[in-house]
Amino acid sequence: MKLQGIDLDVARMGSGPPLLMLHGGDGPVAGMPFATRLAEKFEIIAPVHPGFARTRIPDHFDCINDLVYLYLDLLDKLDLRETLLVGFSMGGWVAAEMATMTTERLSRLALVNSVGVKVGGRDDRDIADVLAVPGERLAEIMFHDPSMMPDFADMSEEQLETVTANRMALGVYTWDPYMHNPKLPGRLHRVTIPVHFIWGASDGVVSVDYGRGFCAMIPGATMTVIEKAGHVPHMEQPDRFVEALLAFAN
């Protein structure tokens, strides 16, 4: 799809009320089993952030707001209404920023192990530096069960290049200030639609406490913690993830 002059990859599946799904730094998730299940109830619209999955990063893109405005335009272009906005990790950051700007086309907002704010003091590492942790540590912080982590050694050349390209795009959108916008907490009061946080209990990237701190910044927001899941509960506990999301959506 052409949007803002950019060739934007948008996966669409299922039917029902619209669900705009924004993936995290590990790349698109629309092909995963949890998404297939959600497609039974929703029309899923899942754009690929430019730069991920071997798409091009537009020359003028260099911060999270570039995605925020891109997807506000996407909502307009598709004339989506009463949309359930779901964001994972950095996609949650994008979603939260969007909701502070306008909720006109949104019904609800679900944030899954989302980054975007700072909850601690300036010396606290609220968000693990995933761009600096050794490869073998990444599995431990991302997953409750580290064996879920794809083994880079088993990947084809092309798959590994996609991993490194995704990492580059993640860097472009989140490098500094790292994974958060210091101004966001002061704007979250503008989010007047229902907001629900879904969090993997064993997340080593952003802890449950971080999630609770983030949740407390949005009036009326609620939270479900999923046991035996890390940063990606939709992968590790897809059934419970879908259950939590559907409970919120209804």
């Binding site: 071997r54 260099d62 761009l131 600096a132 942790v133 050794p134 490869g135 880079f152 050694a153 050349e157 590994l160 290049e161 996609t162 991993v163 490194t164 390209a165 990492r167 580059m168 993640l170 860097g171 472009v172 490098w175 500094d176």
Partner: protein
């Protein structure tokens, strides 16, 4: 031919290598004894002053958060040398522009050094190596593009003399630029830029700057220099003179082979101590995805080779070592293969190499190798040397021939 003497100013007193993951970025500075560091700084400054007295030129660089190089601010080192030396040209190679958020500040520092040294500054600009991303907290994405935009601003700051100007680019913004002092050299100090590939050589050649290659060795030197020469010819309509190209290698000259081997093995500390954890070698956006993938697999190293040995590095053309005759022949063979260059940059001190040994090599080089290299470039025609280089078959390594059969083992 000009020769530039260089040391990275290492801090070699490290704990057991198995006790740390990376000498760069994360080695806690509890291992740095300020008293020892002070002694080292003063020793290295003395060596540079000796180079000045002997007739060599001076090169300084910078790295951050690493024991391999204790100079996080090259302008400070070169600022000291601007005052303490009399004669030598002072090359900073270089200022890591994408990691300096204020290019105008770089322009100011360089102008100041140029004025203090009465026009002896040679100013290098580099994109910087991957390990610097974490230390600078700068995403290395589009580093080359940012280097050239920062360069544009610096050149404009150096050459604008009629009051403040405005610069609002893609990456850098500065509204009232009017540096004091302005450079001594007019219109500006000579500029050097490092090149890692034929592609990165193109803008350097187009600007008529000195293009420098570090440790490119036989495997890469010809493509880089050829990229420069082709772009130079296209841009300027004449062959690139020798003085537009520079090569850096480790170099130790001894009175005999045994002495040379010993000295060269000391220099190898620079490569052998470079234990760097993968995540610091591969920050997002530094390498293109295929190269980043290769680094992840461990099949490519972004800079210094993995498990380097002296004989392998000599064969590659990254280390020149031997008696004066041998070193001259090694450099000459590499020079001819590369198509010729006018600047030999020598890493002449590293690790635990003593000052006495570093000085001995420096003297032997100056007295016995340098004159012959000068003569070689003076009597050669750049276009002919380049032509002969073009006709040579590809070489991955030097045939060290009879040089030090005993030595390289």
């Amino acid at each position: 031919m000009k020769s530039w003497w260089f040391t990275e100013d290492c801090y070699p007193y490290l704990p057991d290598e198995n006790s740390y993951r990376s000498i760069r970025v994360e080695l806690p500075n509890i291992h740095c004894d300020p008293q020892k560091a002070s002694e080292l700084y003063n020793r290295y400054l003395d060596l540079w002053c000796a180079a000045d007295e002997l007739g060599l030129e001076i090169m300084v660089n910078e790295h951050h958060q690493t024991a391999t190089c204790m100079v996080p601010a090259a302008p400070i080192m070169i600022g000291i040398l601007a005052r303490q030396t009399e004669r030598a040209r002072l090359l900073i190679l270089g200022n890591p522009l994408p990691n300096r958020n204020q290019p105008v500040r770089v322009a100011e520092e360089m102008a100041m050094i140029d004025v203090i040294s009465k026009g002896r500054l040679e100013c290098g600009f580099v994109r910087s190596v991957p390990y610097e991303a974490a230390a600078a907290n700068i995403l290395p994405y589009k580093g080359t593009e940012r280097l050239w935009e920062a360069h544009d601003l610096i050149l404009k700051a150096w050459t604008t003399h009629d009051g403040p100007f405005n610069f609002e680019g893609r990456w850098y913004h500065h509204r009232q630029v009017n540096i004091w002092p302005r450079p001594w050299q007019q219109p500006h100090p000579p500029v050097w830029v490092t090149m890692g590939s034929a592609g990165t050589a193109v803008p350097v050649a187009e600007h008529d700057y000195v293009g420098a290659a570090f440790l490119a060795g036989y495997p890469r030197i010809r493509s880089i220099f050829r990229g420069y020469r082709d772009a130079y010819l296209a841009a300027h309509g004449k062959p690139a003179p020798f003085d537009r190209l520079a090569y850096l290698a480790l170099c130790y000259v001894g009175e005999n082979e045994r002495e040379a081997e010993d000295g060269a093995n000391h220099l190898m500390w620079y490569m052998q101590a470079n234990k760097v954890a993968e995540q610091w070698q591969n920050p997002p956006g530094y390498h293109s995805p295929p190269i980043a993938a290769a680094v992840m697999r461990g099949v490519a190293s972004p800079g210094i080779p993995v498990n380097p040995t002296l004989d392998q590095q000599m064969a590659h053309g990254n280390v020149f070592a031997g008696t004066p005759d041998q070193v001259y022949e090694q450099i000459k063979a590499f020079w001819e293969y590369s198509g010729g260059f006018g600047h030999m940059m020598i890493m002449g001190q590293a690790g635990f190499l003593s000052d006495a040994d570093a000085l001995k090599s420096m003297r032997l080089y100056t007295d016995e190798v340098y004159p012959r290299l000068r003569e070689l470039t003076e009597r050669s025609d750049p276009a002919e040397v380049a032509e002969r280089s073009r006709a040579m078959a590809n070489k991955e390594s030097a045939d060290l021939g009879n040089f030090g059969i005993e030595f390289v083992r």
